[in-house]
């Protein structure tokens, strides 16, 4: 059943740090987060880990396991050889607070720049009518658990701190797409996406989609359609106008 697993963890704060080796017991059916909790309880009481649900629903325990951006609670130990060294390091695109915990406030600041949902004037709560087929597109994006693995992985910011000013990252751009596809939203955020949030920086390499633990098709279903809509805005004002005044039928 159990064996002694070899772990290599990044320990340190925003200034200095290094990789430290540990031998920890690993039991049948465990995930990386279980083993780190055992390490924390027995050998390193002060090991900083951010986590909440341990069920892949809250998006707190994002880190890089053997260089791959992952949720630690969804990384099963039986995906590694028993002799393999499992290296866990903090997210690379965000400043380290301590050990495996990073400062992800960048994402919340960018999210605040996206104007909120705005329903049609005069539509009273309880009177909203939308068809399932129309809400499904945005619902896919609302599965997002805000683990920020997508933004961490995106090459626009991963190795280019300087781009953060002009680029909000896939999570926030997907939020724009989500609102844009909401059947009852009335705000146009296309200009914002292009000029303030840096949609043009995205060159659809799909790295974000690959690491999404919710398997959201970020690139294909959110970013590319958003790019198309922004392009329409730029090149075809008549079509843009048409899309705003067209009445949706119930089966649309």
């Amino acid at each position: 059943m159990g064996y002694m697993g070899k772990f290599r963890l990044w320990r340190g704060d925003h200034g200095t740090g290094s990789l430290v080796d540990y031998d920890v017991e690993v039991n049948d059916g465990e995930v990386v987060l279980d083993v780190l909790h055992r390490l924390q309880a027995t050998q390193a009481n002060d090991l900083a880990i951010r986590w909440n649900c341990k069920a892949g629903k809250c998006g707190s325990c994002s880190a890089e396991v053997n260089g791959r951006p992952r949720l630690m609670c969804l990384t099963r130990m039986n995906t590694f050889e028993e002799t393999e060294v499992v290296t866990v390091t903090p997210l690379r695109a965000f400043p380290v607070i301590r050990d495996l915990v990073t400062d992800v406030s960048f994402n919340y600041e960018k999210a605040r720049e996206v104007p909120a949902f705005q329903p049609p004037k005069g539509l009273q709560p309880g009177e909203y009518r939308m068809q399932q087929i129309d809400v499904e597109r945005s619902q896919e994006f609302r599965k997002c658990i805000e683990c920020f693995l997508c933004t961490n992985t995106c090459h626009v910011v991963r190795n280019h701190e300087e781009n953060k000013k002009a680029f909000a990252g896939p999570r926030v751009l997907m939020r724009v797409a989500e609102l844009d596809m909401h059947p009852l939203d009335t705000v146009d955020r296309k200009k914002l996406a292009k000029e303030e949030l840096g949609l043009g920086y995205c060159n659809i390499t799909k790295c974000c989609t690959e690491v999404c633990p919710e398997h959201i098709h970020i690139t294909d279903n959110a970013l590319i359609p958003l790019k198309e809509r922004v392009a329409d805005l730029k090149y075809d004002p008549i079509r843009w106008l048409g899309s705003k005044i067209r009445v949706r039928s119930d089966n649309d």
Binding site: D34, D46, A48, C58, V104, R112, P115, F117
Partner: protein, 633 residues
């Protein structure tokens, strides 16, 4: 402590789950300045774990539904120990709270007419739960989070600062609640907290504090609750002079995962049963038919044929017994396993694979499919799940005024959500938690704002704050001592084994001895490392509160000599009409918890009309029935 950050707000909300965010929105909309303290990042609260839905009698799917039916179901589910007024307000206001979420951008699943779809759930007479697949809690927390951001955007336009009137203090844990004045004049003056990342302290001066800290699940080993659930608000309210009521009632959700061991306790949503899943034992028998209690005999199907017909024709058939209230199902599973009819990992089988086509399962239960695939390597469209009871929710909570959520005995203090007590009685129905957060979160925020408008200014006593900081830092002064993780693990094992689903006097007394011992050992904790993001230290600050609420649960469980809802005594297996009139209130007296008996107000005659005399006679004394005009005579 000159390096400490100091703030003054009208209202401080402790907790950033559904109730806390809804309260903050209400207080801000009433024009007050609000601080939201969150142990985790913004939008990560335990509310995200809620799967099934929000109970609200919108009658979108079955036109027979209405607030009175919802009220009746809630009282029935709680075995009539609920505070009737809270159950009434909850049932009346839940639909508006759900529709409001939609106006803030929430996208619920729809009916064919384009309305919010509603699903069946245990104990609810009609399809009542507004939902988004099985990730309703996430939708709710995200919508409230985005509503807060929308209000901040308004403030940015008006005042040039996003945080002019609402500020979220993420990863900032409250340690102490302060009061000023004595006796009748005693009232809340503020909160001390620390930033988890830096370990630096922050003080908040405030006339009103709303507790929205959730529950106590981390007192138990097998739990669906996250690390945050350490009973902070329960403990702080008692320390400020309030009481916790109904602490003996702990909900063990019948279906938690049992394997692999590392995910034991992780929730399997009740929607699996609501959508057709059945429970079977190792002999392949649908055993729930053997466990329909007397009080529910005429509400549930007695044959598999009728139960199966109910899914397509609910008006002419009775519901399957898999959808009995949670306490009944949890006890039944416990009995089956003890009788040797369990699954290989010590649970029972929950099977949806033989009941629904694979694509329907994936559409209706996407996160369950995902969860079992990722964590257990089980494909629920092909094989049954193994499930067993897991500590899920505490019905017990801070005693509040049912209309205002003002904490009884502590002016300026309010409590909403799981930390509040009374609504659910001895057992909560699934779906009634999310609606509870919204209805009473709003009420608490509104009341706090009203209170602030009339209350005179307060000032925090710096000496008290400094003393609290010295206490909080004590574990750093010891070079050797107790390991906080070991103490917590012992507490969890003890509560699980001795104050769990089935209880006896002897075992509870043993648990109390262990708790006493752990209280002493907690005073000897030594933490290693520094102040920056140090989980060992954080745990050492949570533990005293966890021990207090655990003691309240154990002492209340020892006192109540009957079995009802989330409290089952092997030595007192019957439900007693006399005990139904009694609620137990836990207060801090000196260094220990003292439990006092209080009387539960009788449901007024106009609400009692919802029930027939025969049903009430199963719960109430003859004297009470006479008072309600439902007596034998």
């Amino acid at each position: 402590m000159s390096d400490m950050e100091r703030y003054s707000f009208d209202v401080v909300v402790v907790g950033a789950g559904g109730a806390g965010l809804r309260a903050a929105i209400a207080a801000r909309e009433a024009g007050k300045s609000v601080a939201i303290l969150s142990k985790s990042l913004f939008g990560k609260a335990h509310t995200v774990m809620a799967e099934g839905g929000i109970a609200a009698s919108m009658a979108n799917v079955n036109p027979n539904d209405g607030w009175k039916v919802h009220f009746g179901d809630t009282m029935r589910g709680g075995k009539f120990l609920n505070h009737y007024r809270m159950a009434e307000l909850h049932a009346k206001e839940a639909p508006d709270r759900v529709w409001e979420l939609e106006s803030w951008g929430a996208l619920f699943d729809r009916t064919k007419e384009g309305k919010i779809s509603q699903r069946n759930f245990g104990g609810h007479e009609y399809p009542r739960l507004a939902h988004v697949g099985d990730r309703t809690g996430l939708e709710m927390i995200r919508t409230l989070q985005q509503r807060i951001v929308a209000l901040q955007q308004e403030d940015k336009k008006l005042h040039g600062d996003y945080e002019a009137r609402v500020r979220v203090f993420a990863e900032c844990s409250a340690t102490d609640l302060f009061t000023t004045g004595e006796g009748e004049d005693r009232r809340v003056s503020g909160v001390l907290a620390y930033w988890r990342p830096s370990g630096n302290f922050v003080q908040f001066q405030a006339k009103a504090v709303v507790l929205a800290t959730g529950g106590i699940g981390k007192s138990f080993k097998v739990t669906s609750n996250s690390w945050e659930y350490t009973g902070d608000g329960h403990a702080m309210a008692m320390m400020a002079g309030g009481a916790c009521i109904n602490m003996e009632f702990v909900q063990f959700h019948p279906t938690g995962m049992v394997a692999p061991p590392s995910v034991r306790g992780l929730l399997v949503t009740e929607s699996v049963r609501g959508d057709g899943g059945v429970l079977t034992n190792s002999e392949g028998r649908r055993f729930m038919f053997d466990y329909i209690p007397e009080v529910f005999k005429d509400k549930y199907a007695t044959t598999e044929e009728e139960a199966d017909r109910w899914y397509t024709d609910p008006d002419n058939n009775k519901r399957p017994p898999e959808l009995l209230p949670r306490d009944e199902v949890a006890r039944a599973i416990n009995t089956e396993v003890k009788a040797g009819r369990g699954s290989p990992h010590g649970g029972v089988f929950l099977d949806v694979s033989k009941r629904l086509p694979a694509d329907v399962i994936k559409a209706k239960l996407p996160s369950m499919w995902h969860q079992f695939k990722e964590l257990a390597d089980v494909d629920i469209t092909q094989e049954p799940m193994e499930v067993g009871p897991t500590c899920h929710y505490v019905m017990g909570g801070v005693e509040v005024d049912p209309d205002s959520q003002a904490v009884v005995g502590a002016r300026g203090l309010f409590a909403a959500g799981e930390v509040g007590g009374g609504l659910h009685g001895s057992n909560r129905l699934g779906g009634n938690s999310l609606s509870d957060l919204l209805v009473f979160g709003k009420r608490a925020g509104d009341s706090a704002a009203d209170y602030v408008s009339t209350a005179s200014d307060v000032s925090l006593d710096e000496a008290e704050v400094n003393a609290a900081i010295v206490t909080a830092l004590e574990p750093f002064t010891r070079t050797t001592g107790e390991n906080p993780y070991e103490i917590q693990a012992e507490l969890q094992q003890t509560m699980n084994d001795l104050v769990g689903i089935i209880r006896t006097q002897h075992e509870i007394e043993q648990a109390l001895k262990v708790i006493d011992d752990l209280k002493l050992r907690t005073k000897e904790i030594a933490v290693v490392g520094g102040r920056e993001y140090n989980p060992g230290w954080h745990l050492s600050l949570d533990l005293p509160k966890q021990l207090l609420v655990s003691e309240a649960m154990a002492r209340s469980a020892l006192t109540r000599q009957e079995s009802r809802g989330g409290h089952t005594r092997e030595d007192y297996p019957q439900m007693s009409p006399q005990w139904r009139q009694v609620i137990l209130a836990s207060r801090i007296v000196g260094d220990v918890i003292e439990v006092q008996q209080q009387s539960l107000p009788l449901v007024p005659a106009e609400l009692a009309e919802v029930f027939d005399a025969k049903e009430l006679s199963k719960y109430m004394t003859e004297e009470e029935l006479q008072l309600l005009g439902k007596g034998q005579a």
